[in-house]
Symmetry: C2
Subunit: 233 residues, 2 copies
Amino acid sequence: MTTPEINTWQGVQEEVRRRITQRVWRPGEFIPHEADLAAEFGCARATVNRALRELAEAGLLDRRRRAGTRVAVNPVRKAQLEIPVIREEIVAKGQAYGHRVLSREMPVPPAEVAARMQVAPGRKLLHLRTLHTADGAPYVYENRWINPEAVPAVLAEDFSAISPNEWLVREVPFEGGDFTFSALSAGGAEAEVLSCPAGTGLFVLDRTTWTGAGMITSVRLVFHPGYRMHTRL
Amino acid sequence: MTTPEINTWQGVQEEVRRRITQRVWRPGEFIPHEADLAAEFGCARATVNRALRELAEAGLLDRRRRAGTRVAVNPVRKAQLEIPVIREEIVAKGQAYGHRVLSREMPVPPAEVAARMQVAPGRKLLHLRTLHTADGAPYVYENRWINPEAVPAVLAEDFSAISPNEWLVREVPFEGGDFTFSALSAGGAEAEVLSCPAGTGLFVLDRTTWTGAGMITSVRLVFHPGYRMHTRL
């Protein structure tokens, strides 16, 4: 088989992608060495490297330092997942944003929260319950814990002018996060706060974020009935 | 201010990350040019470039070709989001996997499905309803449409030995996907298939995937009560 000369990394990428999607190279198979591909395409080895690196980042190839490069069996793609400012999300829909702090306390958290926040048993955390509204209607109910040792400035905030969500996004750059998506059947508290019938199925996002210095915040967001969260690969 | 010499891209990255997280450089601010940073750190400009590229990919920096590099205002992180083989997910939990095709038909789809699959009105699609089980208990109910013009081999499959989910992951390399997360209150069909009381809150994933050649499949996955989907930044 002869291949027309390919001089750009984009050209190499396109050809390699074609071989993967048309199953010339099948999932789990080793692909030829970079040097052999460079010879076949009549290009520099660095060009092949650049093309393969991007395909590996996109999840189509599986590269192991010593073992070589295989076609990925289960392509893992990276999707954009952001921590949005809820106010901006609502304003972008052309709706009027509001928020109301329902409670602000400094209790010893339940053991399960202390474990998730990695604080010693008996240590107090800031506990905030907030309702975000869109055109006056409940949008998302936020049940949040914050470690004031990680974020001392939080103690001076009453969150009347800015929501805890927006304040944290603006003030505290997180370095990592843990996301869990699930659903619940609205019980007494959520049903009341979100003004929906008990038993309504609600989408739930649990999120814990940290910096190198430790856990910052752990939040449960319970969205209004019918909410849909969208992302793309 | 003097900075100790930094010779590796990892070192530059660490220092730049420190300046962002400690707000030496604040969100939205332009950071110095690569050449200036290279001079400050006493390293090659390529070293700075490598470090900044990775921080931009991680969402901490916002790079524009002509405008320069700013500290990101809303860090957008990329999370791993994969299309799993449900059998493997269940087996990994140490449970026995099973699947059952509940129906297999070739109707004209509802207009909303035809639009999502980008097929002309009146065109027939393969419609499969499948239940996946873990240790015999309902795990996820899959309601799927497949375009046989994009995947002709699907017409020869009865999916008794392999689920449509696993067959598609193995046989058809997708190139893009659209994900929507939500919740529903179990109605008659889901409640019956998943053996849960009507009104139970259930987590729902709607997913449409395509190749360069067009839409392949659109599926709604309705998970058993209590299911949690986890990912990490």
